[in-house]
């Protein structure tokens, strides 16, 4: 707990340093509006993961500091951490989209085309998010249905013995996670709506405008998908190993479910490393990340 303020200060220092370095890297575009939009997007993209990490650090600090307002243990805080990261990340990106540079000058121009979410959101990430959310909801449902009374362990009668294993993703963990998930879906939907409807960047190259918008949607979906994947993977993996440890599952289904959970964790890392879409050739470069 004592290191918490230090960690927060370090995170903020990293954020400021990252923003300054990124702003320098962003360089200049012949089009002022494009340069301003790129810098704004990059600044928010640096701040979002920092906000996510700060949220996790604060949550874990509260979880470790028993009796100071947080109603659970460090284990409960750990379960809440992935979606807390995703929520903070998405909220910062939502604010960034709401404060996107607006058209300036007396004469403004707009393209008379209808934008849809399907044109803006990368399908691959959207599928990952939907799949991960479905897996998490299934894990919460199955976990709650099979949990022992108390909602955080799993019981299995093995011959004359009643064996118990935990932690198990029962309703004890499922309830706060469901609240987090509902909040995340609401904030995510709002952020994507804002991306579709926010002001266009005034540029002669419409491809730049479209790429900037796709980049925004990519960053939003990337952070949220990673958070949901980590939690779904944790729940599934933990269910497999707990059921296996009390012989409710034989070795190969137990191993399979555990590995499935681990695969989701690896997938979360892969998703976090997916670079944002690049600008078309011939257009000013857009920052990756």
């Amino acid at each position: 707990v004592a290191v918490l303020p230090v960690l927060v200060v370090v995170a903020l220092a990293v954020a400021v340093g990252g923003v300054l370095a990124a702003a320098r890297r962003a360089g200049r575009s012949p089009e002022v509006a494009v340069t301003a939009a790129r810098r704004h997007g990059l600044t928010v993209a640096v701040l979002a993961p920092v906000a996510g990490v700060v949220a996790v650090v604060l949550l874990l600090g509260a979880g470790a500091d028993v009796g100071h307002g947080f109603p659970g243990s460090i284990g409960d805080a750990l379960v809440l951490a992935p979606l807390a990261y995703a929520l903070a990340h998405t909220l910062v990106l939502l604010v960034g989209e709401l404060t996107w540079p607006r058209p300036a000058g007396a004469v403004r121009r707009a393209r008379l085309t209808r934008r849809r979410l399907a044109d803006v959101a990368p399908r691959r990430l959207l599928r990952v998010l939907v799949g991960a959310t479905a897996a998490l909801v299934a894990a919460i449902g199955v976990g709650a249905a099979l949990a022992a009374p108390g909602g955080h362990t799993f019981e299995h009668r093995d011959g004359p013995f009643l064996k118990e294993a935990g932690p198990w993703p029962g309703w004890h963990y499922g309830r706060p996670v469901t609240v987090e998930l509902v909040l995340l879906v609401a904030v995510l939907a709002g952020a994507l709506w804002v991306v579709v409807n926010r002001p266009a960047v005034a540029t002669d190259d419409e491809r730049v405008e479209a790429a900037l918008r796709r980049t925004s949607a990519h960053r939003i979906l990337r952070g949220a998908s990673a958070g949901v994947l980590v939690l779904a993977g944790g729940f599934i993996g933990r269910s497999g190993s707990a059921a296996w440890s009390v012989n409710a599952l034989s070795w190969w289904p137990g191993l399979l479910v555990t590995l499935l959970g681990d695969a989701a964790l690896v997938a979360a890392l892969v998703v976090l490393c997916l670079p944002a879409p690049r600008l078309p050739v011939g257009a000013p470069p857009v920052p990756v990340g």
């Binding site: 300036a104 007396a106 121009r109 707009a110 393209r111 008379l112 209808r114 934008r115 409807n197 926010r198």
Partner: protein, 124 residues
């Protein structure tokens, strides 16, 4: 063809009227075919940096003129408008003018300036 809407917020013509007139011209000229979907109110207002009510008024006037229809699921859709008989000769002349300008390499802004000057002269 990519169609643009330009609004001059310093102009004496209200922004809603500028938006209405340009969309009406696109519909009249056949550049916006029946069934074409207009941008969402908020998206167009954000792109132009004007209030949502400004675009809403332009759309409402277009709807009152029978050029567009607002539908709950599809948004604002062009319904088209039969060309007024009195406009047919002018439309044909405008098409001919556009063809001649393209042949002789005269820019769009120059053509519009020439048309404005001709309109002023005819009004005297």
């Amino acid at each position: 063809v990519a169609l643009d809407i330009t609004v001059d917020v310093g102009s004496a013509i209200p922004p809603y009227e500028q938006i209405r007139a340009q969309i009406a011209a696109y519909v009249d000229g056949g550049l916006l075919a029946p069934g074409a979907r207009l941008p969402a109110l908020r998206a167009l207002a954000a792109d132009l940096g004007v209030a949502v009510g400004t675009v809403a008024r332009a759309y409402a006037e277009l709807e009152a003129a029978g050029m567009v229809a607002s539908r709950r699921r599809t948004g604002t859709v062009v319904t088209g408008r039969p060309a007024a008989r009195s406009e047919e000769r002018v439309r044909a002349a405008a098409a001919e003018l556009a063809r001649l300008a393209a042949e002789d390499g005269v820019g769009a802004e120059t053509v519009l300036a020439l048309v404005r000057a001709a309109l002023l002269q005819a009004a005297r």
